[in-house]
């Protein structure tokens, strides 16, 4: 007798939408990157095609969007993201993204890389309490016009994991006023500021809305069984939170409708 046991992580979403799966989302790996596999997996679960990219290459492999994932690229030597930003592939990403065409998402260390590359303003310093913090974090989605947030409703709260030590977003007052005035704060911490970030800012976008960076990790909240214990709608089944998935469906939908 054969007993069918579902494989762990064997996603139920087996219905392939050919339009979505035709969208190629690159995920960059640097030495010391940790969450590249999770980001690729999130793209796949959202219905797209994940394309691994290597920092040392000059080849963007004709991807339609790029994710710079979390981790400790180059061991955070010098400053988080400081050395990665000069990687050969980053030149191509910066050139394609600064004009507003290529959607780029930086998560955690990826956000730090984007600020070091001057694709996004501000910088990250050590958490004000100095500890590495790992928790499920509530966020308010404040800007749904970006390439990465169009599937959310304005003002929605989501819950995704937060895990970092250099997570305190800082910028001068003028830059902060500019970000606020232009509606470029995309995510704000809800239910308390976890790290001292200026004005509770968790994620921002550039003036075109194609480049988004955020410290928490939406790619860790895309599949039931592996996510947080709560979501925007309250408690869910243990580890059932999938609030992060909207980030990935947003960019796929945008690129399909282009």
């Amino acid at each position: 007798m054969t007993v069918e046991t579902p494989l762990i992580g064997h996603s139920a979403a087996e219905v392939v939408d050919e339009h979505l799966s035709g969208v190629r989302v690159g995920v960059v790996t640097f030495p010391g990157t940790l969450d590249d596999r999770d980001a690729l997996r999130a793209v796949r679960i959202a219905g797209g095609t994940g394309v691994p990219l290597w920092h040392g290459d000059h080849d963007l492999k004709e991807v339609d969007a790029v994710i710079i994932p979390g981790g400790f690229s180059y061991g955070d030597y010098l400053r988080a993201g400081a050395i990665s930003r000069f990687a050969p592939l980053m030149e191509q990403i910066t050139a394609a993204a600064s004009g507003g065409s290529l959607p780029v998402l930086g998560i955690c260390n990826g956000f730090q890389v984007l600020t070091e590359a001057h694709l996004l303003p501000g910088s990250m310093i050590k958490n004000n309490h100095l500890h590495f913090l790992c928790k499920d974090q509530r966020l308010t989605v404040e800007n749904t016009m970006t390439a990465w947030t169009s599937s959310y409703e304005q003002g929605t709260e989501i819950v995704v994991p937060l895990k970092n030590q250099d997570g305190q977003f800082v910028a001068d007052e003028r830059t902060l006023d500019e970000l606020e005035g232009e509606g470029r704060v995309v995510f704000r911490y809800a239910g308390g500021n976890p790290n001292g970030s200026r004005r509770d800012i968790a994620g921002i976008t550039n003036e075109h809305g194609n480049v988004v960076g955020l410290m928490p990790h939406p790619e860790h909240a895309v599949e039931a069984g592996f996510g947080p214990d709560s979501s925007a709608f309250g408690e869910v089944e243990v580890r059932g939170g999938v609030d992060g998935l909207g980030i990935f469906t947003s960019v796929l939908q945008k690129l399909v409708n282009k």
Binding site: L78, R79, A82, F86, T115, E116, P121, G122, S123, I125, K126, N127, N128, H129, L130, Q168, V170, A171, D172, G196
Partner: protein, 85 residues
């Protein structure tokens, strides 16, 4: 061989969490009388050959673009030091 020293400090208006933690540890060890600690970085660039104005300019440029992040840090010193030996 001559070396160029580059000092980088967190900007005055940026809270320095590491410095604050060190300031908190000092009195616990009996080192009292220090009002504040700020922690920075020192880089030593060993120069091949002589330190020309061009080499110094390269060091200043490297300090501004790679060794520091102007959003959170200031370059407070770019200076040649000669080795004693």
């Amino acid at each position: 061989m001559p070396r160029i020293v580059v000092d980088v400090m967190p900007k005055p208006e940026i809270l320095d969490p590491q410095g604050k933690a060190i300031a908190g540890a000092l009195p616990r060890l009996g080192f009292t009388g220090f009002a504040e600690v700020r922690q920075g970085k020192r880089f030593e660039l060993t120069v091949e050959g002589d330190v020309t104005e061009e080499v110094l300019e390269h060091a200043r440029s490297a300090a501004a673009t790679l060794l520091s992040n102007p959003v959170i840090e200031d370059v407070t010193r770019v200076e040649v030091i000669e080795d004693a030996q």
